[in-house]
């Protein structure tokens, strides 16, 4: 152990640039941390046989809060460094295939953010690992006994990921044309592959704690647990899919906040225009991925019920029932802030004023939707309160608290948000095709039909058993998705060769719109913390569900108020650090950003489409 920091320092000194040295240094530290822990099991095993302690103590905040904060902040950085490469490589591809250099430049700027964030991910990964070993040695030993092989693979992939990232970023200008550019793009793809595999491996460890195989009991020695059945457990793939999409949402939101900050402190019009455009792209990615995230969440929830219905009931009802009300409020904020940003943004698009009168109706739909979605179903109440209400459901509001009403509300909110995007997209275009009027009518009809389908099944759901009602949500979702796909398809063809009503005035955005991007980023981050609490909290007093019990003094699952304080602490830590490293990143590229932006802004008009 004493040798490792010296190696890190040597590696750092031999690096090329400031960022590179930091990245390599911390990546090496994180890997050393994991390697050290893999060596520690021998010691732990010896301790365990001597009846050594199962838990350590952390001063002031306690072990649970310490491990919680470390895990959450690590996950936030990890989500960012996994999400951003996805749309960096897509942006680079758009640049290659479309021949538009500004996308290539955008992809490089995304990757530069990635580089500095990667260091923080590694630092917090090392902190998390060391806290696990010192505060929860019993659990760590148990997991190592089962997952040791995958931990070695994880370490290897981590190295591949790190060096692929450095090659990808520092080779950007070197491999910028011809076949070399394709090689460079392949590096971007490989970066995503390594990152995704790393995430999948880590997900197997945490999902095993949620849903161990049925044949694993408290009496099963960890060495006897079959590796693959533990690795590919019941909730592993649902979590993988959910996290991939959530990472894209989160990455888009953080990029949007970064662009908003750079917009607000920009000193030139060119700089302001560039970051206005970048903020728009970040918001588009975040909201676009957010729309499909609930479907992944539904899949995960269904698999949790399939694995253990009692766990599902604990998650959706009981002491966690109010968590979903808070979640509804947060998602309501996301929808409102995302739409607000689009509506304000229409102010810089010539021709958008013709759509302005409709925004108030869309706002009404969104606000009513949030209110319905945030209505509790059954409430935690004492006997007197239940008697006063005449049951566990409120006599009036209870009608709105059921899934029929909530599904209807959320689907209408998604439709409304999509309409906002469509109006934004078409604001400065005048179609020239003969069939434009008919196509617009068909698009309107699709909106109306899907809204009718959503409302019809929402109302009909009150008159059928629960098992039938659950199936209705599929019809509602399909109607909304079909409308989105159908309308966009028509729009793409209809706007080919369309006349422009004027270029988008990038940079002419009121500052208040940029604060909406900050609210989006903070809300996404807080929501991730809340959902992390939900996922982990449903294990209640088990380290590994119904296999390894938490016997520490902090085994009780805390109430939402306490959880909110911890989550807020994590979000503050994350934003403080991310502000610092983005500022650091800004220093490195200062001066190189704006020069290449000139002359490209006219091309940004097309981006809105």
């Amino acid at each position: 152990m004493a040798i490792l920091p010296m190696k890190i320092n040597k590696t750092g000194r031999s690096g090329g640039g400031v960022i590179c040295r930091r990245g390599l240094c911390w990546a090496a530290l994180a890997v050393c941390g994991v390697l050290a822990q893999l060596a520690i099991p021998e010691l732990l095993l010896a301790q365990a046989t001597e009846g050594a302690r199962q838990y350590g103590e952390f001063p002031l905040i306690g072990s649970r809060a310490a491990i919680w904060i470390a895990a959450q902040v690590h996950l936030l950085f990890a989500a960012f460094v996994l999400g951003v490469p996805m749309f960096a490589v897509v942006a680079e591809a758009v640049g290659i295939f479309g021949g538009d250099k500004k996308y290539d430049k955008l992809a490089k700027e995304f990757t530069r953010l990635l580089l500095v964030a990667y260091s923080a991910t590694a630092i917090w990964g090392a902190i998390l690992s060391f806290l696990l070993v010192t505060l929860y040695p019993g659990l760590w030993l148990y997991l190592v006994e089962i997952f040791a092989v995958s931990m070695w693979v994880y370490v290897g992939l981590f190295f591949f990921e790190s060096f692929t990232l450095y090659l990808y970023y520092y080779g950007w200008d070197l491999w910028s044309t011809g076949r070399a550019k394709w090689v460079h793009w392949t590096l971007g793809i490989m970066l995503n592959v390594w990152g995704t595999l790393v995430m999948f491996i880590a997900n197997s460890w945490l999902t095993y704690m949620m849903s161990p195989p049925a044949d694993v009991t408290p009496d099963t020695a960890p060495g006897m647990v079959q590796f693959w059945s533990a690795f590919a457990n019941a909730t592993w793939m649902p979590i993988n899919i959910h996290r991939i999409i959530a990472n894209v949402v989160f990455g888009g939101a953080i990029v949007g906040a970064y662009a908003a900050y750079r917009f607000l402190v920009a000193k030139t019009d060119e700089e302001r225009a560039h970051y206005d455009w970048m903020g728009y792209i970040g918001n588009l990615i975040a909201i676009g991925a957010l729309i499909i995230l609930p479907f992944a969440g539904y899949y995960l929830g269904r698999e949790i019920y399939e694995f253990n219905q009692q766990m599902g009931i604990t998650m959706m009802g009981g002491f966690m029932s109010w968590l979903w009300i808070i979640q509804a409020f947060l998602i309501g904020v996301l929808f409102l802030a995302g739409n607000y940003y689009l509506w304000v943004g229409m102010g810089r698009i010539p021709g958008a004023e013709r759509f302005t009168p409709y925004t108030k109706y869309m706002l009404i739909v969104l606000v009513v939707g949030v209110m319905v979605w945030a209505t509790p179903n059954s409430m935690i109440a004492d006997r007197e309160e239940i008697a006063a209400m005449g049951g566990t459901h409120h006599p009036f509001l209870g009608v709105l608290g059921v899934m029929s009403a909530k599904n209807t509300a959320v689907n209408l909110m998604i439709l409304t948000t999509f309409l906002s995007f469509l109006l934004y997209r078409r604001a400065n275009s005048r179609p020239t095709v003969d069939w434009a009027r008919t196509a617009t009518f068909v698009q309107g009809a699709l909106f109306v039909i899907s809204a009718i389908v959503v409302v019809f099944y929402g109302v009909y759901g009150y008159f059928v058993p629960a098992i039938v009602r659950i199936g209705f949500s599929v019809y509602q979702v399909l109607a909304v998705l079909a409308t989105i796909v159908g309308v966009i398809t028509i729009d793409v063809f209809m706007l080919r060769g369309a006349e422009s009503r004027g270029d988008i005035q990038w940079g002419q955005m009121p500052p208040r719109s940029q604060y909406a991007l900050f609210i989006l980023a903070v809300t996404f981050t807080w929501l991730m913390g809340l959902m992390g609490f939900a996922r982990s909290g449903i294990r209640q007093h088990w380290h590994v569900w119904e296999v390894m019990r938490d016997t520490s003094s902090e085994a009780a699952t805390p109430a939402l108020g306490y959880a909110a304080i911890v989550i807020s602490g994590c979000v503050l830590i994350f934003f403080a650090l991310v502000s610092f490293i983005f500022w650091l990143g800004g220093l490195a590229e200062k001066g190189s950003q704006v020069s290449s932006s000139k002359g490209e802004m006219s091309g940004h008009t097309e981006v809105a489409k």
Partner: protein, 268 residues
């Protein structure tokens, strides 16, 4: 620049503050770790009563039937004009003291069925430990009467009447299913399901009949109804909604649950 930075910090901190305040303004419920009660011989009446009160409204599930509705006698506020249970338990069965009667009523509930009520109560040994049952007995005695349960009662493992329940109770000190049989009929009988459901003509029509249930309901719906029976009522049984205790998810093993679901879905 500084002003802009301060504004941004204000927006970020303000947004986080709103979420934190919101989450702290709703009912705060902590998920407690289930406690395996273990009383010594010197346990006090106050300790027993306090534990019993907690169990009565939570893990015991007693209020589901003995609380608001009329499906079982209200033990706390009186059964008609009879008064709370502690004041009348000693007179319920000749030769049985209050605590003996209450104990037997929990472990063999259908032996002393009160007139006018259906035999729907399960043997509480299936969901509660011996110490927990005695704690509830003490709590019920305290409702208008004097607590006579002592540590000796608990640690002897049964009632003074020698009802024979003590042996079974001693084997059920932990959390989990008491009946390990995976035979569906054993599970249905052991959990007193036929106290409310009819199977092959036997049982009580308080809940939907098991006969032909597979042609009416899917496996998923049956499973959900067992685990979370308060979600929805079957047609014609709306008034029974909330009567079935939501404790079988804790009592049954996954194998037992699946065997029961499979058994019922095949009743076509």
């Amino acid at each position: 620049m500084l002003a802009e930075n301060l504004k941004i910090i204000g927006v970020v901190v303000g947004t986080i503050g709103v979420f934190t305040l919101l989450a702290n303004s709703i009912p705060q419920v902590q998920s407690e770790v289930p406690q395996d009660l273990s009383f010594g011989t010197d346990v006090s009446a106050a300790e027993l009563t306090a534990s019993g009160e907690l169990l009565y409204g939570s893990a015991g599930g007693c209020t589901a039937c003995h609380g608001l509705g009329t499906r079982a006698p209200n033990l706390l506020t009186g059964n008609g004009s009879e008064g709370p249970i502690g004041a009348r338990c000693g007179d319920r069965v000749s030769g049985e003291s209050c605590k003996e009667y209450l104990y037997l009523a929990m472990v063999e509930p259908n032996v002393f069925l009160v007139d006018g009520y259906s035999p729907i109560m399960p043997d509480m040994r299936r969901s509660l430990s011996n110490d927990q049952i005695w704690a509830i007995v003490a709590y019920l005695e305290a409702q208008g009467g004097e607590v006579t349960v002592t540590g000796a009662d608990i640690n002897q493992g049964g009632s003074e009447s020698g009802s024979g329940a003590s042996t079974a109770v001693a084997d059920n000190s932990g959390v989990g299913p008491a009946n390990t049989s995976t035979d569906p009929m054993d599970i249905l009988n052991g959990n007193a399901c036929l106290g409310c459901h009819i199977l092959d003509g036997a049982g009580a029509p308080i809940g939907p009949s098991f006969d032909g249930i597979g042609s009416r309901l899917s496996a998923e719906y049956i499973r959900e109804s067992i685990l979370d029976p308060g979600v929805s009522a079957s047609e014609g049984f709306e008034e029974s909604l909330g009567m079935m205790p939501a404790m079988y998810g804790d009592q049954l093993t996954a194998q037992q649950l699946e065997n029961v679901v499979t058994f019922l879905v095949n009743r076509r």
